[in-house]
Amino acid sequence: MSTASVSLPNWITYGLIPVLNLIVAFLISGVVVWLIGESPLGALSLLIEGALGSGEGIGFTLYYATSFIFTGLSVAVAIHAGLFNIGSEGQAYLGGLGCALVALALDRFVPWYVTMPVAVVGAGLFGAAWASIPAFLQAKRGSHIVITTIMFNYIGAALMVYLLVHVLIVPGKMAPETRTFLDGGQLPKLGWVMNLFGAKLGAAPFNVSFIIALVAAYFVWLLVWRTKLGFEMRTLGASPTAASYAGIPYARTVMIAMLLSGALAGMMALNPVMGSSARLQVEFVGGAGFVGIAVSLMGRNHPVGIIFSAILFGILYQGGDWISFEMPNITREMILVIQGLVILFAGALEYMFRPALVHVYQQFKVK
């Protein structure tokens, strides 16, 4: 008997299954740690200590989480419209350009709270612009968006390197990066939030863009589940034929979904560029766009789930740094290993446990 069409209660689908998937991913990571000759439990406790053991650790965790919320939302918005946007990485990279140009132009003249909204728009616009070409190719010419967005990540990287090396670099400096923004181009840290809980933020670059991310998450929720546009996007994502029957314009909906997705990815740049390093650097995205895929999958494409799984990945990133510092044998790339496993089990193998759970559940229900 096939079990795929048997429906399970929400607490299993949205609670138990993701947790099981996560546990398996961690168990296998533990095996890797053990193979290297370190203690998996030791690594786990270091992970938690590093990520949550101090105000500074939490600050870093939330700093990373901020980026992941944006990219996770970016991936999710596209997925709801049935589009798999693998290009968040490149869109965020270009978003950094938009955000940096705004900061460079305004930081001398206005305070941060004036720069910030303009930078949000700038980052969003550039991100959206970078998404618009694959979006157009999908909407009008039917080019597979997965492939085109991958291509655009590489094209974007080449473009950004060119700009940073030849145009934006500070003459005489070695590193391909822009000048440091003045205060008017830097986002303030959220030290006071930490102080509320009696902790110290220290040097952690946890900043105002976290709040922007939360607001963005709220708007994504509103968009997807409460607006007409969101309804149309979900219809298209769930059934393209039903969407055409319902008179939902394919090209327009694809374009809007991808532009929003690109804009969200672009806004991610605010966090590292204006919130942390105060300059645009080469490769500043550092894979956060890809992490967004994992975050969105883990969070079942729902903003609340995305916030939780972004924080989880924040813990992973910060705690992973801590592990690699304390256990020199384990490099930080352990994070990539765990990340890959989480994507594998929460994404590609998400239903591996389902048949077994269905059987258990049905036995249980009969009794």
């Binding site: 290297i36 000759g37 030849h166 590609a348």
Partner: protein, 323 residues
């Protein structure tokens, strides 16, 4: 240097740079023609490179390195198969996962074992595939036109290079002249037809992804122990994606795949060669243009401006008969 020498140099560079692309794109060909999308090519190549370098280093044998590379890559194919064939998971997600996992694990293990920043130690000549001088290469080197072509471009490559060019007609022959190939192409178009013909869709697709694994094993091995003399972190550096682009560019056909890979390899060689040189009227061309060109060309192709690229119909869709 006259122009012919330049051409010869760029061509021999093109060959060296195209080989990993050819193996990898052929790998993608087998997988995707069977209806399994594979963006994990990058990861498989990288994993194979790592395994090949480690084993070649330990055993001092290039051939054992090749075997290890293939085994590693095939096991990753099996993971991809388990996720996307057996568990009907999303093939793209599975590929992304494999890419991440390998990007991380190779560095983690490499650093833990060798402590060289994720690199493996330099390999001795015995543990590498070294260039082979074809008969007569030295004798006719001085002959005009064909001399340099034969002795610098055709001769003087390692065995994997020749295998790559052999793999192209072989792949064609397998796909179009054997039972396995017929079934493989069918399962990528309509798995139902294969299933009702009494052939196991899963097993067929597993065999296809294993073929892909073997070919990626070759490409990874080439990177680590033929082209270079060690594994270096991220040494695939996006070649898996370029190969994917070449596959699309070649419309999922073996011989065009070779030409697409040669084209993309040529662009790369040209980028190296043109670096810092002045082009009349334009000035110095930024290398980034050459780096981006394969991707741009592929997008233009996908947009349908250079013919239409229709992927295998059942590609990316897990085969379900019972909902």
């Amino acid at each position: 240097m006259d122009y012919y020498d330049i051409l010869i140099n760029v061509l021999s560079s093109t060959i060296r740079l195209s080989i990993p692309l050819i193996f990898t794109a052929l790998a993608g060909l087998f997988s995707e023609r069977a209806g399994v999308f594979d963006i994990g090519l990058e990861g498989k190549m990288l994993g194979a490179a790592f395994a090949a370098a480690c084993v070649a280093y330990i055993t001092d044998s290039a051939w054992l390195g090749l075997v290890a590379g293939i085994l590693c890559s095939v096991s990753l194919s099996l993971v991809h198969g388990f996720a996307s064939i057996t568990n009907r998971g999303n093939q793209i997600i599975s590929g992304v996962a494999i890419n991440f996992f390998i990007a991380g694990i190779t560095i983690v293990l490499g650093q833990a074992w060798f402590g060289q920043g994720g690199r493996t130690p330099q390999l001795s000549p015995a543990s590498r595939f070294s260039p082979i001088t074809l008969p007569g290469a030295d004798a006719i080197r001085e002959v005009a036109i064909i001399g340099p072509l034969y002795s610098n471009v055709i001769s003087g490559n390692n065995i994997l290079t020749y295998l790559a060019f052999l793999a192209v007609p072989l792949s064609w022959w397998i796909l179009y002249r054997t039972r396995f190939g017929l079934r493989l192409r069918a399962v990528g178009e309509n798995p139902g037809a294969v299933d009702t013909a009494g052939i196991s869709v899963s097993w067929l697709r597993y065999r296809a992804v294993m073929c892909a694994g073997v070919l990626c094993g070759f490409s990874g091995t080439y990177l680590a122990i033929a082209q270079s003399a060690a594994f270096i972190k991220d040494m695939s550096a996006g070649k898996g994606y370029i190969a994917l682009a070449a596959l699309v560019f070649a419309k999922w056909k073996p011989v065009p795949v070779m030409f697409a890979c040669l084209l993309f390899g040529f662009l790369d060689a040209l980028a190296n060669f043109m670096q810092g040189k002045q082009v009349p009227l334009i000035g110095a061309v930024p290398v980034q243009i050459f780096q981006a060109l394969p991707y741009i060309l592929t997008c233009i192709l996908l947009a349908g401006f250079i013919g239409v690229a229709t992927p295998p119909k059942a590609g990316g869709v897990p085969y379900t008969k019972e909902r």
